[in-house]
């Protein structure tokens, strides 16, 4: 493990990218903010509905940025060969994957802060809920990033990645109960939707902020998905082919 490399990489490729390419940041914020706007209009300003959309906002941002990481990972491996450059160094595939994952989390920070401010104003988030929510967001970053590495590893041509990430981004952020109460859909469907790690993460956050009952089984599912996807990500990233 090379924590210094991971932290520096995440800082450079997460934070500096925000400063030097703010349009990417706006793009990553646009979907959750647009959905928040639609929820507000359709719910006629109902604070209950809005608070669900606000609670799901950070989840949507983290998920979208991490799934877009597939484009980065594929671009680094196939197009600009940066992955090959790092393979022949002292870092492991795990270091490289952690570094990229953490950079997506850093890149998500402005959006998370925006939602944190909004959520605090609407009394959705509290100081006590902050730590468990951060924990869920970290796990979600790891699971979705690893899913991205799997996708990137399977791709032979870079052009396919843009379409796949766009589709997955919608499927992962809009279909799961990110912006609506999970109790609005049958429990069986919740478990089916749990195939996307966004579902257990969203259900957990709704429980943590006290909007819905806390489902501990979702923590178990999220942890299992983190472990399984991390192992698969290591296999598919094609570190030493």
């Amino acid at each position: 493990m090379n924590p210094k490399f991971i932290l520096y990489f995440a800082w450079y490729y997460g934070f500096f990218v925000i400063l030097r390419g703010p349009s990417y940041l706006v793009a990553s914020l646009s979907l959750p903010l647009a959905l928040l706007f639609i929820v507000t209009i359709f719910a006629h300003g109902s604070l209950v509905a809005i608070s669900f959309a606000v609670a799901g906002g950070p989840i949507a941002i983290v998920a979208a940025n991490s799934i877009n990481g597939a484009a980065d990972a594929a671009f680094f491996r196939i197009q600009i060969r940066i992955q090959d450059l790092y393979v022949a160094t002292n870092i492991t595939s795990q270091d490289y994957m952690f570094a990229l994952s953490l950079s997506y989390l850093v890149f998500s920070l402005p959006g998370i802060v925006l939602y944190a401010v909004l959520g605090s104003y609407l009394k959705v988030f509290s100081v006590e809920s902050a730590l468990p929510i951060i924990g869920v967001l970290v796990l979600l970053t790891l699971t979705i990033s690893n899913l991205s590495f799997i996708i990137a590893g399977l791709l032979k041509h870079i052009r396919n990645v843009w379409g796949i990430t766009a589709i997955l981004s919608i499927i992962m952020t809009v279909l799961p109960p990110t912006f609506y109460p999970y109790t609005d859909i049958p429990m069986n469907l919740i478990y089916v939707l749990s195939i996307s790690p966004v579902t257990p993460a969203a259900v957990l956050v709704q429980g943590i902020v006290g909007k819905e009952p806390l489902l501990y089984s979702m923590l178990f599912i999220l942890l299992i998905e983190t472990v399984v996807l991390t192992l698969l990500g290591r296999k598919f990233i094609r570190w030493r082919e």
């Binding site: 090379n2 490729y13 500096f16 990218v17 390419g21 600009i80 060969r81 450059l85 002292n90 030493r240």
Partner: protein
């Protein structure tokens, strides 16, 4: 020294990128020459621990590339073919990250990066976004990474492919500053001649010939190359160009037949060993 022991790389059941090659690379700078798809990059990727061979192995300074991967990675720097910088980050940032991946501390990485950028006349561009640099400058940044890492063995896979002549000369001058053992791949004969002491000609996954440039040129025994479009006498014919290797005393005769006479260079080693085999 690099010892290659029977390396084979097979994709699927029948596609061989390398066919059980053996070689001892002893000189400080070795160039692996071959046409596109000859197996150069596969060989370099295997030697630099990026790719596993189907069979066989190699040792670098005595360490096995498969069994002692960590030790080998401590010894080497490898600049992959067509590698590009991350456009939004600066050369200094990317060099620092690379050196930290090589085990340098943050401060040390920054200091070494600055020094190497200075040596390659890139210091003024250290903080510029990499996508604003010219093609030659970008390749020089990768050479600077290898320079700063101070690795005993450096692999450069087609470092000048796609560059204009001026940028190529710039990259050559950067490579000449490296004092480590260098394994370079190229399909430019002049590059091999300019930079290396030892040449490995590779074609269709086989080593066609291997030796010092002087030794390989000496196999032509002072002959000259005569070439003519649609010429009737030839040893090799490429497209419509007839190439004939002639003794010096036959120069006038071939000039009278309309042939152009040229001195032997590395092109001829490649032509006679590589293309001739195929034709």
């Amino acid at each position: 020294m690099i010892e290659i022991k029977g390396i084979t790389k097979r994709y699927g059941k029948h596609l061989y990128a390398l066919k059980g090659i053996n070689a001892s690379l002893k000189e400080r700078v070795t160039t692996v020459i071959g046409r596109n798809g000859a197996g150069k990059t596969t060989l370099v990727r295997i030697l630099s621990t990026q790719l596993l061979p189907t069979s066989g192995t190699a040792t670098i300074e005595g360490y096995d590339i498969i069994k002692d991967t960590k030790k080998v990675r401590n010894l080497i720097s490898s600049i992959p073919q067509e590698s590009q910088l991350i456009g939004i980050l600066s050369p200094l940032e990317q060099m620092q990250l690379y050196l930290m991946a090589k085990g340098f501390s943050a401060q040390q990485a920054k200091a070494e990066s600055k020094e190497a950028l200075d040596q390659l006349e890139l210091y003024d561009f250290r903080n510029a976004p990499s996508d604003t640099l010219s093609g030659g400058m970008k390749r020089k940044v990768f050479v600077a990474m290898a320079l700063a890492a101070k690795s005993p063995v450096i692999f450069l896979d087609e470092p000048t492919t796609g560059l204009d002549p001026l940028s190529r000369i710039e990259v050559w001058s950067a490579i000449k500053r490296l004092t480590s053992k260098i394994i370079l791949t190229t399909h430019y004969m002049e590059e091999a001649q300019e930079l290396s002491n030892e040449v490995v000609v590779i074609d269709q996954g086989n080593i066609m010939t291997h030796g010092t440039i002087q030794h390989l040129l000496s196999t032509f025994n002072g002959k000259m190359r005569a070439e003519k479009l649609d010429g009737e006498e030839y040893d090799i014919k490429i497209a419509n160009v007839a190439i004939k290797y002639i003794e010096k005393d036959k120069v006038d005769e071939f000039i009278s037949k309309g042939y152009d006479i040229k001195r032997i260079n590395l092109d001829d080693i490649f032509l006679s060993k590589g293309v001739m085999l195929e034709s």
